[in-house]
Every structure is written in structure tokens, then in C-alpha cells.
Amino acid sequence: MSDVQHLDDGRLHAYLDGHLRDGTVGRDYVERHLAECAACRARLEEERRVRDRARAILGAAGPVKVATPPFEAVLERAERKRASRRRVPPTVVLAWAASLALAVTVGWYARSLVLTGGGTGTVATVAQDADAPAEDVRAGGIEAAPPAPRQIAQSAPARAQPAPAPREEAVVVAEPAAPAVADRPLANLAAVEAKAAVDTEVPPLRIAEAPAPSAAAAPGAAAERVRLRAAPPAAAADLAEQSWRTVTRAEAERRLGGPVAMIPGLPSLGTSVFGTGDAAVARTLQVLGAGLTIELLQQRATAPAAMPQAGRAMGSEPGQSLTVEWEGFSVTGRALVPADSLRRLLSRLHRP
């Protein structure tokens, strides 16, 4: 028997692994050769030891025993994934909101250029129209004041308030007809006006130009206006919710109407909330390491328009940001870590 005919390692291992089946040419050939060749028999035993040793080594690497979770777990996970895929990606929504905000801002500035001359004239006319009883004057006065609210209402979308509501407000204000004002709860106007006092510096100037001769004859009306502006009692609670406030977790959950997104195991620096209900945005800071935090911005996935509010708050924070769907919320994480680390962190959001 010449050397060329000896069995190679590959054939021996295939034989050991039972890959050369009974009756096949390969197996017969190997067995015939082994019967005749002591050298190959010795090598076969050597290779068997190698094979068994390799099996033992790999077996030592664990996991020892793996319980198979029910198949339903896979189905549920697939369903969750499908549900989140059906939604419009939050980035698209944000891009939309940003475009809209930009368009409205540009539009507003263009409009204010055109109206610089005529705007106050309209107000004066409105006030003069209200030339009868004191109540009417008062109604007129309150109505006349709102060039400021109108301005706010127009510029509000630029700050990404939900767009439709302010627009409606603007229509009502622009109409001189008193009934429309009567329909409207005064607190609404007051809230917008007071919000103006808080949020912008423009309104007082415009309001000062409003009083017409007849309005001046009713100092009570003026006083009422001032009072409403200074301390709108009905709107106080609303206003408190229209700014960033650090709140307890329980309060944050009440305002959000759901769980607060947090990454388990990381110390929390607290949660602040803006707005309430569907439009609420929560911002939670957690510590990743020395001098390194992750910011979690959370809002209802169904109310993407409010996100730029939050965007303003986080504008100065450096780092990557990534948005995920979580428990019906969209949660944007931002941290100074690589994108895949961020993705992994966000995948660890606790499941309540």
C-alpha cells in the first residue's frame, strides 16, 4: 500500500462524524483501508481524541441549560415591532413640524411688515364702533386689546403650538362682532394674553395704542384689562403647565398620562414636564458616568407637533440623538455617546 493511498484527516473526521454512510463508496473504502493499515488505524484513534476533546472544550463554554421561552414571546415581540413600524417615523414628523414652523414664521414677519401702518387703525375702529353702554365698551375693550393675542396666535405656531387652535383664536379676535366674544370664555383670551406677557415682550406696546376716546371714558374697562393681564385666575393652572417645571415622578406620570421613560440602573437627575395631556413633553436626565448624562424627551407618539418645544430646550445639549417608540410614546434620547451605544441604551428603557 503506497503513501498516496493513506486516508487524509478530512476523510477520517468525516468517517468519525458519521458523514460517510453505510453502503456508500466512501465508507466502504475507508473501512477496507483501516482493516489493512495499522498506521491509519492509529491516526483514526488520534483524530477521535482530537474530535472528542474539541467537543468537550466547546461544551465547557456554556450556557449549561437553556429553557426555551414560549413561542408566544416571539409573536408578541414581532407584533410590537410591526406596530412601531406602521407609525410614521418621528423624524419625518419633526421635519414636517419644523418646515411648518419656518413657513409660518417667515409669513408672520412678512405680514407684520405690511401691517405696520394699518394694524392699529383697525383696532381704533373696533373700539369706536362700541359707542353704547358700559358693558359693551368693556366687551369692545377686551376685544380691542387683542392685536397682541392675535400676534401671539400667529407667532405661536412658530413655537410649534398645535396649529389649528391658535388660528381659530385669531379669527375670533379679528371679528368685530361682539357675540363671538361672548361665546368665548374670557379666561381663554386672558390666558393667551397672559401667556403673551410671560412669553413675549411685544404686546404691551400694541395694547397701549388701543384705547379710543370712548374706551378712555370707561376706566373700569381698562382696570379690568390690567387685572386680567396681571393675574388671570382661571388660567393660572394652565399657565403653570405651559412652562418647564421639575416635578415628581408621580406628577410627571399624571401629566403624561402614562409611565415616565427611564433607563433602569442609571441614577436620575429628575424629570421636568411641559404642557399636559397629549401635548405634554417630559424631559428626564440620567447619569451615564462621570460628567456624562443622557437626556430622555418623551411625548405621546400621537402628538408630534409639540416636540420642537422640547427641541428648544435641548438645543444646546451636544451629542447624538435618537428617537424610539416606547409604550405609545416617542422617546428621544440625547447623549454624547456613539449612535449604537445610544441605541442600546434606549433599547433598555424599562417595561412597566
Binding site: 487524509d8 484527516d9 478530512g10 476523510r11 477520517l12 473526521h13 468525516a14 462524524d17 458523514h19 483524530e47 482530537v50 474530535r51 476533546r53 474539541a54 467537543r55 472544550i57 466547546l58 465547557a60 463554554a61 456554556g62 450556557p63 449549561v64 437553556v66 426555551t68 421561552p69 413561542f71 414571546a73 416571539v74 409573536l75 415581540r77 414581532a78 415591532k81 451615564l288 458616568g289 462621570a290 456624562l292 455617546v337 456613539p338 449604537d340 451605544s341 442600546r344
Partner: protein, 169 residues
Amino acid sequence: MRVDWAVVYRETYADLVRFLHRKVWDADQAQDLAQETFVRALDHDPENPRAFVFTIAANLARDEARAAIRRKKHLTLMAGGAAEAAGAAEATEENERADTVRRALDELSERDREVLLLWDAGFDYGEIARQTGLSPGAIGTTLARARRKLVEAYQAVVPEAEQPRKKQV
């Protein structure tokens, strides 16, 4: 013919976790990836479901390994990070043994390692050949080389790992 994924899942899950564990070296993550593998497989109707599942798993594990390398770089930057500390505390004897096997496996070429792990997960030669694109006749040779290399590499690594423990005793 529709694949009954529930059956494939029951029959394959343990092997799949074992396969994934030898790639990502984290029991929880191996299970997580195994579940994710089936989530991705559900919508498909492959001829050979078992091979299909292992292909997905191998891809997921590769992506995860790449991500892990980047993460490691990052963690090195954040010296003394919490994750590092937690890892040290968990270094049980079992983990040490797994780590030794891991280092031994790292000595193998990627192709040899893949063939060895598929064999370890219960694949036969034909399946391994289809999975790796090697010719069926080459599987025996590849396995012979991979096994020998693993045994040698393990012997070379073990003394390092065992010696400190023996000194302590």
C-alpha cells in the same frame, strides 16, 4: 408550503442560543438575539427553515460583534465606567472557563470557526456546506483542522488561566 415556525422554534431554539452564545459570549444577549432571529424569520417561508434561522442569527451576531467593538472603544474612553465594574464582579468560574474557550476560538480563522460552531450546533456536513458555501468534500478537512487548532489553542491558553488559581490553593 408554509413553515410551522412554532415547531422550528421548539426544535432549534436551544441549538441557536448555544450557537449565538459562542459568538456574543453573553447568555442574555444570546437569548435575546435568538428571539430576534425568529421575529425576523416569521414573515418568510424558506425551504430549509433551520438553515435560514442560523443564517439570520449569524448575521445578527456579526452586527452585534461589530457594535460591541465600537462600544468597547467607547468604554475605554470613559475609564472606570460602571459597566466595566459590573463585568468584573460577575467573573465567576464559569465565565472564566467560557472566556478561555473564547480566547482559544479566537485563534481560529473565521471560516474554521464558523464550520466548527455549526457542527457544534448540530448541523450535518451537507448543511454546513450549504451554509458556508464550502464544497461538501471540504467540510471534513476543515473540521479536522479547526478541531486540532482549537485543542492546541486551548492547551496554550489554559495554563495561563489556571496557574494563578493553583498558586492560591
